[in-house]
Amino acid sequence: MIPRAYFKGLKKETVLSAIAVYAGAGLVAAYAITILFEDLIFSVTNTLPFGALPLTDTFANLVWSIVFLFMAILLFLSGYSLTESQVVGILMAGAIGLCFISISLFRQADILLGLATGSFCIFGAVMGFLARRKSPVVRTSPRVVEENLIKICLQMAGLIAVGSLFTIIAVVFIRGAHYVSPSFLVSGTPPGQFQKIAAILGGFETGVFGVGPAIVGSLLVCGVCELTTIPLGLGSAVYLAEYTPQNMFSRIIHFFVELLAGIPSIILGIFGYTFFYYSFNWARQSLLGGALCLAFMTLPWNIRVTEEAIKTVSDDFKAASYALGATKLQTIRRVVLEVASPGILTGILLGFGAAFGEAAVVIFTAGNAFYNLPSQISLTNSNMPTLPAWIYQIFRGETTNELARVRAQDVAFAGSLILIAIFLAITIVALLVRNRLSKKLSAT
């Protein structure tokens, strides 16, 4: 696995220490992966969802596996620095070795793994120390040691940041994936197992376990929302970028845009919940009301992105257009917006993605219908089902029945999986659009 040349020219002790630490890292990584996928392995062999439930200790396992994965990565790093005979490697290997021995004492279940890895690491540390003692010429200064230690700490922080994203996606996928099927995506007539779960869950009627209506409802609400945001956002951005100089007025508008961006979603929720009901006599939760409240939320984003895109258009284009005798309106329409279109379109799509996942506003203003789309969709009167609200309903539908509770959790994860998938798809489409359009524009 490790090429021979890698160890060429190194002392015997160095090689031994590095191999010992790498072995420890491998052990830990293998163990972490096993306990991470214990649930999945069990589910494949035991045909969930109607086998016995393996979920008694999964969460603790998950956390432990993350801890162990981190330690494995640390060990790989220290093995690497041991081959360079750096003090960092010795210190880290020793510390992790002690850590494992104490973990094994604390968690009786993993005593073998802990003792094995711990002794590997400590052996590696001792060997590394001997190797350094034997060659007093290669002394690293304390400053370099400090530098390397700090760099490793910073890398760990970055790893945690990235790791949290991948953990979230992995967990949602692992727990939600076996409930996702084509019929779950489209229909209101789900496969038999969902009806049984529905029966267990009690509160839910049979035949409601599909996210199809919720997806359609979300798309409708977000679509109507975009219909109001796009013209307003485009208009504001063009006005700010092209018609006003940097003066008091434009600064005031910018200030209010920032203010609007800072208004929390619950405020929009309580506003939409009562304002349209009392003022216009709409239903408490309606398609248009929800879309308007969402529009209030996405408007600042649209203005900001569009303005940025317009500002990147170089003045040469505009000057050329004016020189040909075009009016300001013609210049803006034919030149500025055309050149800025990749940026604008990308921004609009990303805003759409954010609106699609927004829950707090939508639940209070657009609706929390759970079962199906209303038979006649009216703008002001129909309580729409939406995907975030659907997930929340499942979440609330928890019962004391242990079996049903776990099922409900998995179904909620399945809904989350769909939501994340849609969000990622929109993001990817947005980035593709940007690349495609900007290539086309630069080609002509």
Binding site: E146, A161, G262, I267, G269, I270, E358
Partner: protein, 282 residues
């Protein structure tokens, strides 16, 4: 002539749409103020009463979450801005953007079904479900991490390279340069990042609603207790309400929340102005 009129109309339309955000802000704040005025006036005269624990937990949850997010996010930002190569940067930056886009309801599901049981199994929790302030901290910290990372990285990158070169020319190591020169220089930008993250954490509803346990809070520093913050208080009452009741305290609470967030945002704006001022002077 005809063309000039159409240009005028167009400009007027643009002006109207530019004003729309001002109108919306006034509509929202005005409506909230008008509806919540009796409650707020009552609180101002007679003390905040039942709302005090809510305000306390709101700050407690927000500050704790942002502290965790800073502890992880600031080193990440330093690493991105000062130490990392292009390849690692190209991994971390997009992941942070994706993380900021994960819908809050998904974060709530993760928090309630994964983090809460983990909290229970590690700390015992006050209840068997693990829904408590600590869980809310962790969930909110993950949600505000991208904020902290991206804004403080921008602040660090804004420090001119000549400063770094001068410091390293004097024989300082990279870390000494970062710690003694770059960080103090980027201080106000980093503070702005932390405050902005705090403002958005205070207003976060959905994820907190799902993990904090929804119980009338007490003033306590114990993070293993169930609690409620202002936004989840409003959400809980609207969601549970079937008939039309007295919503005045909810509007009042919303108004107070808005004031808290507004105060933070204004502080950030002032910080930014002072920074620009100092730059032009120095």
């Amino acid at each position: 002539m005809k063309r000039r009129i159409s240009e005028r109309i167009f400009e007027l339309l643009l002006l109207l749409s530019a004003i729309s955000s001002i109108v919306i802000v006034f509509l929202l704040i005005g409506y909230l103020g008008l509806q919540g005025y009796p409650a707020v006036a009552n609180w101002l005269l007679n003390g905040f009463g039942f709302l005090v624990p809510y305000m306390f937990t709101t700050m407690y949850v927000g500050v704790g979450a942002v502290a965790i997010a800073t502890a992880i996010g600031l080193p990440t930002a330093i690493y991105l801005a000062e130490f990392s190569g292009l390849r690692i940067r190209n991994l971390i930056k997009p992941s942070m953007e994706t993380l900021s886009g994960i819908p809050s309801v998904v974060m709530g599901v993760i928090g309630a079904f994964m983090i809460a049981p983990a909290v229970t199994s590690f700390f015992g929790g006050s209840s068997t479900s693990g829904l408590c302030v600590l869980t809310a901290w962790i969930v909110l910290a993950i949600m505000s991490l991208p904020f902290v990372v991206s804004i403080s990285e921008d602040a660090l990158r804004a420090v001119p390279n000549s400063y770094r070169e001068a410091s390293q020319g004097l024989g300082a190591t990279k870390w000494q340069t970062t710690f003694r020169v770059v960080l103090p220089e980027a201080r106000s930008g980093i503070l702005a990042a932390i405050l902005l993250a705090l403002a958005s954490a205070l207003g976060e509803t959905m994820a907190v609603w799902m993990v904090i346990g929804n119980t009338v809070p007490t003033i306590s520093l114990n993070p293993l207790l169930r609690a409620d913050v202002i936004s989840t208080y409003i959400a809980r009452y609207i969601y549970g309400q079937e008939s039309v009741g007295d919503l005045t305290p909810l509007y009042g609470a919303g108004f107070i929340l808005l004031v808290m967030i507004g105060a933070i945002n204004i502080t950030v704006a002032l910080l930014a102005r002072r920074r620009v001022y100092a730059k032009t002077q120095g």
